[in-house]
Assembly symmetry: C2
Homo-oligomer: 343 residues x 2
């Protein structure tokens, strides 16, 4: 059973006291990379990925066979502010699409060979409009965090979290601004495809929510998730924290997923050390957010869909990195001569 | 039976008269992307890949199930100039490693699910040292071109060509400088891991070869491949031309593979229209070369190994792009509401 958070303080404690990577095993993995049949360093980031995972997986042997994508879905009262060109009903319709196999995440997980799970979080019960009130109560926030944490159970080698929620790039912007500073305009973007007026409406909604919460001096991670977030963003935060305690590495998806973790950084800057940034989204704020988190994305393909799609693609790279690390022959074993002294 | 080149002129004609992409089918594929259950454009380059392939594959339905990697290996007389920190014997040793499954390309093709074929080209018979003489005779060049062309046979949906040849980043630099201009220093780099002196030796070797051939006014594609190339680089050129005539798209690997095609650009600037740049190598000249070819790489992972490894990784992205295009539901079919008028 993965970590659960019975109280806000239990959540705070779980973020404050994190297990760490095994640096000795990472060093050993780096040494192995030097004797595999290739010039040292020539596999670039594939080498870094294998070494990174070696610090989390048992006996320092990276694994990437069982990779599960969990898509969390939630609805948002802030859609009343006209922050999305799509009607809120689309969230539930897309969940049905996930379940019948017709969405992008279905095609990509099928192609790459990943498990897919969908967790709809009270779609009939949207969170409150953050421009006017806290998104959730303490109890609702804990429910969402724990739903996320449960998704970190099982015997996955690597986890990926995705999201679906009409209006949630506005929620993501609010979480970033609340946790990291700046105004709405610094963190909003076209999302699913807004024009200039639409983006301005998003910025105004975020500013209104910030004004309300900043007056309360809101800086605590739990409170930020509760006041400015949504059910799916809290679930992602809970899932990433629980995965850390299970020592399961996570490949991060796009803007909404990464923004869900911004409040956690305030509590513990090391919270993302078990995470790999799968891709950088076309949503402009994502790049800035990754830079602030000192994460370097594996892919940059102009994607901006969410659902976990960018991370699911990146999983193919991660799996190949593990394959090279674990399957390649050494110079000695393959009787391949290593470099001579000539520089 | 794929295209063969009985004479240098037959090769030149094959490069001059190329089949083209079906633009009507590409337009139709682009229209399909607009009605799949996602915001238009939100899959970024995945959409472009699917549309690109639709112009080459039958009935405009992109396919990426059967993807074959063919690794060509050759040896180079220019290694006498101290252009590699590895002994020339490593080429044959690595071919044995490919065949016993211990190399990076084995691990990556296994992980991604690609076929792998290895074609060693007269490893006991290195090409002449290009600083002193033409690398190959006309007959030898044709043999290599045709060996490559034969690799474009079969029923692959997509082809990838890789290479192994100690000394061949110097050959690649010579091909680029010969075809596109510039001196040795503009096109050489650390390769498998040279220090400053080693890189200077590479530049000097290229300059010496250029001096010899430029005096001959060497600008013809066939002659460039023959004078400055190697067996594996000629094979790659032959394979890419033959694949074009078979309407089989190609995912390009790194610097050596891309440089092998630079001479062809002189004959026909449209020669790479069936190609997708799989990745950009850490070898500095590769980025410049791709820019000159107006190709935008899918991956940038700091890799510089060759063997087809970067392209093989990119194949996972290409395959996922095809999966989204062919498997996703439309808004109508999935009963998902499309965007409203709100911008």
């Amino acid at each position: 059973m993965p970590k659960q958070f019975p109280t806000p303080d239990a959540f705070r404690e779980a973020v404050a006291a994190l297990p760490c990577a095994n640096a000795a095993l990472q060093l050993k993995a780096r040494e192995r990379q030097q004797v595999l049949t290739k010039p040292p360093g020539s596999l670039g980031r594939l080498e870094d990925i294998a070494v990174h995972l070696a610090g989390w997986h048992e006996e320092g042997i990276p694994r990437a066979e069982r990779i599960k994508v969990v898509v969390f879905a939630g609805n948002h009262g802030v859609t009343a502010q006209g922050v999305s060109p799509y009607p809120a009903a689309v969230t539930a319709q897309m969940v049905a699409n996930f379940k019948s196999g017709g969405a992008a995440i279905n095609a990509i997980t099928g192609s790459v060979g990943l498990e897919l799970e969908v967790m709809a979080l009270q779609l009939d019960n949207p969170t409150a409009d953050i421009t006017a009130a806290p998104a959730m109560s303490d109890v609702e926030t804990l429910e969402a965090l724990n739903a996320g944490a449960r998704a970190a159970s099982g015997d996955s080698d690597i986890l990926i979290f995705g999201e679906m929620g009409i209006g949630n790039t506005t929620i993501a912007a609010a979480l970033c601004a609340g946790a990291l500073g700046g105004a709405g305009a610094d963190w909003v973007g076209p999302g699913t495809g807004h024009d200039v007026q639409g983006v301005a409406r998003k910025a105004a909604a975020v500013d209104q929510a910030l004004a309300r919460t900043r007056n309360d001096g809101l800086t605590d991670a739990f409170k930020l998730l509760r006041h400015l977030g949504g059910r799916e963003t809290a679930a992602i935060a809970g899932a990433v924290v629980a995965a850390r305690h299970e020592r399961i590495p996570v490949v991060l998806d796009g803007y909404v997923v990464t923004a869900s973790l911004a409040p956690l950084m305030k509590l513990n800057a090391a919270i993302l050390e078990h995470c790999i940034a799968g891709h950088v989204s076309a949503e402009p704020a994502h790049q800035k957010l990754l830079q602030m988190m000192q994460l370097s994305p594996l892919l940059d393909l102009g994607m901006r869909l969410g659902e976990g799609t960018g991370a699911a693609l990146a999983a193919a790279i991660v799996r190949a990195a593990v394959a090279t690390h674990t399957q390649m022959a050494t110079f000695d074993a393959a009787a391949v001569e290593n470099r001579t002294n000539a520089g």
